[in-house]
């Protein structure tokens, strides 16, 4: 417990350790920060390929995991939602209608943000949703898109470029259609 009383300054090796630890911490935090800074996705950005694991019963052509690259040449509508999110309920039926309307020409994907599976299933059943849906595991997708909340919807064009972001619920089926029509030849 007692401190040794000697007329010496802090040993060099301790000084080095302290500075190295400090530098390490700062580098760690700084690199994370720089990733966050550039991480935000804006319309015009090319979306890097991502994968979404799907709930059983909501698979796509029998596959339990889909990738963005699977849908090259198609418009992809990526909707973030959660069963606890009341505004999500406003647009749930409209999204399903839009999915049926385009009949597979436009890909709809639902990413369930921070949720539990039983509640999510109840929600999907309640609104009779049929397009592929899955949990946003480890919140990887929401981090990649830096969503601010749910619902948020990302429209990705045939070339994999994000062209529209909708924050908050859609008010009507027409609103969804009009955004899709912009890029649908």
């Amino acid at each position: 417990m007692s401190e040794i009383v000697e007329r010496k300054s802090v040993p060099l090796w301790i000084q080095i350790i302290v500075w190295v630890l400090l530098a390490g911490l700062l580098v760690l935090v700084g690199s994370t920060l720089s990733k966050r800074q550039q991480g935000s996705i804006r319309p015009g950005d090319t979306i890097p390929d991502f994968s979404l694991t799907l709930f059983s019963g909501y698979e796509f052509e029998g596959k339990s995991e889909v990738r963005l690259s699977d849908f090259a040449g198609k418009i992809v509508v990526l909707n973030f939602w959660a069963s606890w999110c009341k505004p999500c309920e406003q647009e749930a039926a409209e999204l399903e209608e839009a999915w049926k309307f385009y009949n597979g020409d436009v890909m709809f994907l639902g990413a369930d943000y921070v949720d539990t599976e039983p509640e999510a299933r109840t929600y999907l059943k309640k609104f009779q949703i049929t397009y592929p849906n899955g949990p946003d595991l480890r919140t990887q997708l929401s981090q990649m898109f830096r969503i601010r909340g749910v619902p948020e919807t990302y429209f990705i064009d045939q070339q994999g470029v994000l062209y529209y972001v909708k924050v908050g619920p859609f008010l009507s089926l027409d609103e969804i259609k009009s955004i899709i029509e912009q890029k649908l030849q």
């Binding site: 007692s2 802090v10 000084q15 760690l28 935090v29 700084g30 920060l33 505004p87 619920p169």
Partner: protein, 685 residues
């Protein structure tokens, strides 16, 4: 016009702050008392300037000036005036201004004190606080300006401080988005300012510590000057944390009070080092020991304040509290780096001047036990820090973020908290310099026996859970031995001063405020531990969908669903959905509860209001999760029974009383000669 004025004043206060820092620095260098005096006056000017700017912002908020983007983001027409005022700290830009305002207030207060004996500290205190204030003002002025407005330029809405083009016109949205409804709660109105008060108050002890390091005046003068500051800082920080817990319990709707969320931890970490500092600084004052350690602790506390603020505001850590992606990150990073590098450099340079005057002689002496207490606090800090930083490391190393959850924190900190409870019981009985097991045992055996008896009773009547039994034993030990300490002191005083019991008790406490305030805090901590043990170990929950007339059971309670109604209140811009439930315990009717969901149209957000029935034994806490809108026949509820949780809030209240008692400014009293009958007592103050 008004927005430009507010912004202009802010720019002026920034320049004044920079001047005061520079003048103080050169005043020291050139040994010019007049330059230092000029710096001091400039410093005093910052407070009124920032006050004016803040008033302008509040005026804009209160009067629906939605052309100002900050007002648009945090207020709406339906909000009452008091909420519009508190929206000041409801968003990033405003809260930075609020922070600067507090900082200016505190530094002004401290520069107004009498400096005659400590004049060499003055310029450095000004330099440190001016750098901090200038940094915050810089961020507001250049990156998070609360006064920017919306402009209409060729059909597009542009956000800008000044008129972007000649033909641009001001654009005023019809209504604002409104404060996040979760924040429209009394607890939330005072929780952030309390935390900010705590954070900002730590700037003062830190700047004195740095002044001591720079000037080389490393005796305990700096700790004596800042003693009360660090106590008040700790009070505000504690108050902020407690309020946050209560708010979470009432509003967030998960039946919890503490979620080990990164932002909570970011506020908790400086509290840990601050608490350790409060204890170890006593050793420096009494024994001239641990000077290096105290320096480390105060620097750590301030660094954690800044670091925590940075982590949560820059978007580096995501959480329910996080502010949106913000441009201030790199600047904050620079400031954090500057703070850490300068502090560590100064500390290493002065390390040997900070050596202890005496050595530790006994492992059971009070200073040894205090040091052990410090190690436990640092242990908890390490656990927290690792939990916060680990996701960053995992992301860097593996590419995805692995976060650690509450179980990690609970398991890792549980034994450390138990150790602290035990020390709380034992340490007050140990003496400075030297104690033996015999003297300690003699002082504590009665409390130990009483705790044993109580624990055995609890074992047969309440719980057989091992963790709970250990926990309750330690709680009982801490409470009994602290009460015993009050008793001993009072009896001793009664004998020597010939006073009756209550006069003796009140005199005893009034003359040793810090010590007895500390004991009250110890008791309150033990009470809070009861609540925490209750909710962590015995919480029961159930969830189910029921039709009208059906019931759910949890514990001894039966909850019967009666009816549900949903209606709009246009004046508040809110839709309320309220369920009516009959509550029975063991078949006996207790009354009704009304869990609610409020939907705020302006913010497009819901808020869950639980139905609560609170007793000393347990809380029944019911959430309305969902309902069938069409038929109104079924609804889903989540029900928690939270045993003993009320003790957490009772403890919190007592805790606040204890700190206020300890920190209250007192008149200089003449020392009273009390010769305690118990030879091992010694004042902690």
């Amino acid at each position: 016009m008004l927005a430009e004025f507010g912004y202009g004043v802010l720019v002026v206060s920034f320049l004044v702050t920079v001047y005061s820092g520079v003048a103080a620095f050169f005043g020291v260098r050139k040994n010019s008392a007049s330059l230092i005096e000029s710096a001091r006056r400039a410093q005093l000017l910052t407070f009124p300037l920032i006050t004016v700017s803040s008033f302008v912002l509040i005026y804009l908020l209160v009067n629906n000036h939605f052309e100002v983007s900050f007002a648009y983001e945090v207020t709406s027409r339906s909000m009452p005036t008091y909420l519009k005022i508190t929206a000041w700290w409801g968003g990033q830009a405003g809260s930075l201004l609020f922070w600067s305002w507090l900082l200016a207030a505190f530094t002004s207060l401290v520069t107004l004190r009498k400096w005659d004996r400590d004049i060499e500290f003055l310029p450095w205190v000004i330099v440190v606080s001016a750098i901090t204030l200038a940094f915050f003002l810089f961020m507001i002025i250049f990156h998070e300006n609360p006064f920017t407005r919306y402009w209409l330029v060729a059909g597009n809405v542009v956000e800008s401080m000044f008129k972007p083009t000649v033909e641009a016109t001001i654009f005023t949205p019809e209504n604002g988005r409104g404060l996040n409804p979760l924040l429209r709660h009394p607890g939330m109105i005072i929780h952030p300012p309390m935390l900010y008060l705590g954070f900002v108050s730590y700037v003062i002890p830190y700047s004195f510590a740095i002044a001591a390091l720079i000037t080389g005046r490393t005796d305990d003068r700096w700790t004596r000057i800042t003693r009360r500051w660090s106590l008040w800082a700790w009070l505000f920080l504690s108050f902020g944390l407690v309020l946050g817990g209560r708010w979470a319990y009432d509003v967030l709707g998960w039946g919890g009070y503490w979620g080990w969320d990164p932002v909570e931890i970011a506020a908790f970490m400086p509290w840990l080092t601050g608490t350790a500092f409060l204890h170890s600084v006593m050793i420096q004052e009494k024994r001239g020991m641990l000077k290096q350690w105290n320096m480390v602790l105060i620097i750590l506390t301030y660094a954690l304040v800044i670091f925590g603020t940075f982590l949560t505001r820059s978007g580096v850590l995501s959480s329910v509290h996080s502010f949106a992606n913000s441009p201030i990150g790199p600047f904050f990073m620079g400031f954090v780096t500057l703070t850490l590098v300068v502090s560590v450099y100064l500390l290493i340079r002065r390390w040997n001047d900070l050596r202890s005057e005496t050595e530790m002689k006994s492992m059971l002496s009070r200073e040894a036990l205090f040091l052990l207490n410090n190690l436990l606090f640092i242990g908890i800090l390490v656990v927290c820090f690792w939990g916060v930083i680990y996701p960053l490391i995992s992301e860097l190393a593996t590419g995805f973020k692995v976060t650690v959850g509450p179980p990690y924190y609970e398991r890792a900190t549980g034994p450390l908290f138990a150790g602290l409870l035990f020390l709380m019981a034992v340490a007050p009985f140990s003496a400075w310099g030297h104690s033996t097991l015999q003297t300690l045992g003699k002082a504590i055996w009665k409390s130990t026996l009483a705790s044993f008896v109580l624990t055995i009773i609890l074992f047969f009547t309440y719980t057989q859970n091992l963790y709970a039994i250990i926990g309750f034993f330690l709680v009982a030990l801490a409470i009994f031995s602290t009460l015993h300490e009050f008793w001993r002191g009072t009896i001793a005083r009664q004998k020597t001063q010939n006073e009756n019991f209550f006069t003796a008790l009140s005199n005893l406490m009034m003359r040793n405020r810090r010590r007895y305030g500390g004991y009250i805090i110890h008791i309150s901590m033990a009470l809070m531990a009861i609540g925490i043990l209750g909710i962590e170990l015995f919480q029961k929950e159930t969830q189910g969908t029921v039709a009208a007339g059906e019931a759910l059971n949890v514990g001894n309670y039966t909850v019967e669903y009666r009816e549900l109604a949903s209606w709009d209140v246009p004046s508040d811009d809110v839709n309320y959905t309220r369920a009516v439930l009959d509550i029975y315990e063991n078949g006996i009717y207790l009354g009704q509860l009304y869990p609610r969901i409020d939907y705020f149209y302006d913010a497009e957000q819901t808020m869950t209001i639980p139905g609560q029935r609170s007793t000393f034994r347990d809380d029944l806490y019911i959430l309305l999760v969902d309902w069938q809108p069409a038929s109104n026949t079924g609804a889903t509820f989540k029900i928690y029974v939270n045993p003993l949780v009320n003790w957490l809030w009772i403890g919190s209240l007592l805790f606040l009383l204890g700190i206020i008692f300890a920190a209250w400014p007192d008149k200089e009293l003449e020392p009273v000669k009390v010769k305690p009958s118990a030879q091992q007592t010694s004042a902690a103050d």
